[in-house]
Symmetry: C2
Subunit: 294 residues, 2 copies
């Protein structure tokens, strides 16, 4: 059994990005520039945005953190988005979700210029991905594809079962894995709460992507020998023994499932650490597209 | 075995649309207005666009046909698209594809305002569909969903196998059938040229959507008893006995497959006739959205 080490893979990607930024700078170019907009003081969001900014600094990207009190109106936030859309010094930006209740997340997402939408949440990017056009793929699906690629896991002709049909993970994974590319070319089955005989379907899978958000849902008796299992679950479970007061639980009953797997990604340390690396990759891509760099 | 009659269903939809237009007019409103842009003289395109215009007239829509010689430049065509985007008297419009070789289809599609894109080809509409947001779904997938709905074919919890992963049929069908709606909620397997054991997969299907464009590809020994089979194939095969010089062949070996089916759509007369009805539905939807009519 090979443990898919998301932390190490993310570190490798960041190192590669750093080298590319160094080379851009050596050629007299300015570094890529990511801006992050954070509204309010939600603990999780603050930590996550700070980690993104720090990751930028570490690899030589310029970064700008724009913070607003959660009293900001939707209109004011839309004006800031418009300003960032037009700002030529910024290559890509994100607005950290969720937003306060009086602001409609969707309206903000739709206002972001698809060419700067490095979170890949704008429908135009989702559609471009589905149509096989150049696009920004959102952090989690992009991270999973990178793991499959870098661990050289064969997907062509394999039966891949995606558990969960969410717009942010399950559905894009089904598209990415079935399209004519590498990784890709898999026969993909999308399953969800209305699926009958899920166990039987999972037992026929060469690759399982578990993305339902139910801790330890995937048990050993649902997985065939030598399967590849990617765990996307990140449910917070109370844990008073930890400083944070919680721990993350995946969708996979890791202790029992892992013994049967050829490859498995753990939680934490699997898909999770890949998300920031994906964001950085998208930012470099946005930069290159703007400046027409191959 | 029930034969899915696309011609009759399309006629039913058109009659419903006509009644709705009559009622709009009785309330003092102007009718919905579809514009169609046709470049050049390709026989198939001319026939198809004329049929669309005629269908508009029949149900009381206003329609405008804009024809250009195939010497028109991409820039001139883009200017016309921009003009139609801004024209408040037009609710939706299409640019008939394919275009002459010196014009990039994609550039034209991308220039159309997504709110007037009644063909549903703009990436923003494709992405909106994938995200479960209001969108224009393109003619073929929309037509298939209408057939499933109107024949009250149960899809929830069923295993649906889609043969073919094209951006215009296979991929959107996999999204539409797997999402939480009715029709929908199916467990969907997307298959394609790299799929192994396709026969075995098809034999496990309650519903098969055949969309590969290979005449009579789906044979009786690939279909289980009482399956539902939707044939999306429309390959033109030379037939000197016909005035047109060709006949349409579906992806399904109809004569042998149909005996095993609970429902089957024939070619011609199945999915094909639904495409214009879908376009008209989208045009009414665009109109209603513009005027905020429920």
């Amino acid at each position: 059994m090979v443990l898919i080490d998301g932390k190490q893979t993310a570190a490798d990607i960041k190192e590669e990005l750093k080298q590319e930024v160094d080379s851009l700078k050596n050629n007299g170019r300015r570094p890529p520039h990511l801006a992050a907009v954070l509204v309010g003081n939600d603990g999780g969001s603050v930590t996550y945005v700070n980690a993104k900014v720090k990751a930028c600094q570490k690899i030589g990207f310029e970064s700008t953190l724009i913070r607003f009190d959660d009293s900001i109106s939707e209109l004011e936030l839309l004006e800031k988005v418009e300003e960032l859309n037009k700002d030529n010094s910024i290559d890509g930006f994100i607005v950290q979700l969720p937003l306060p209740k009086h602001i409609n997340d969707r309206n903000i997402t739709l206002a972001i210029d698809p060419l700067k939408d490095v979170d890949g949440f704008h429908p135009e990017n989702v559609g471009r991905m589905s149509l096989g056009l150049p696009s920004f793929i959102s952090a989690t699906p992009n991270g999973i594809m990178q793991l499959l690629k870098r661990y050289e896991i064969e997907t062509s002709g394999k039966h891949c079962v995606v558990i969960g049909r969410s717009a942010i993970v399950g559905t894009p994974m089904s598209i990415l894995l079935s399209r004519n590319s590498n990784p890709g070319n898999a026969t993909v089955t999308i399953t969800h709460s209305k699926t009958k005989n899920l166990k039987e379907i999972c037992l026929s899978a060469d690759i399982i992507i578990a993305a339902i958000g139910r801790p330890h849902f995937l048990k050993a008796d649902m997985v065939k020998e030598n399967a590849v299992v990617i765990d996307v679950g990140t449910t917070r479970v109370e844990d008073t023994s930890r400083k944070s007061g919680f721990r993350l639980m995946g969708d996979v009953d890791f202790d029992n499932v892992s013994a049967k797997c050829s490859y498995i990604s753990p939680v934490p340390g699997g898909v999770g650490p890949m998300t920031i690396a994906s964001l950085l990759m998208n930012t470099l891509k946005a930069y290159k597209r703007r400046f027409n760099i191959a």
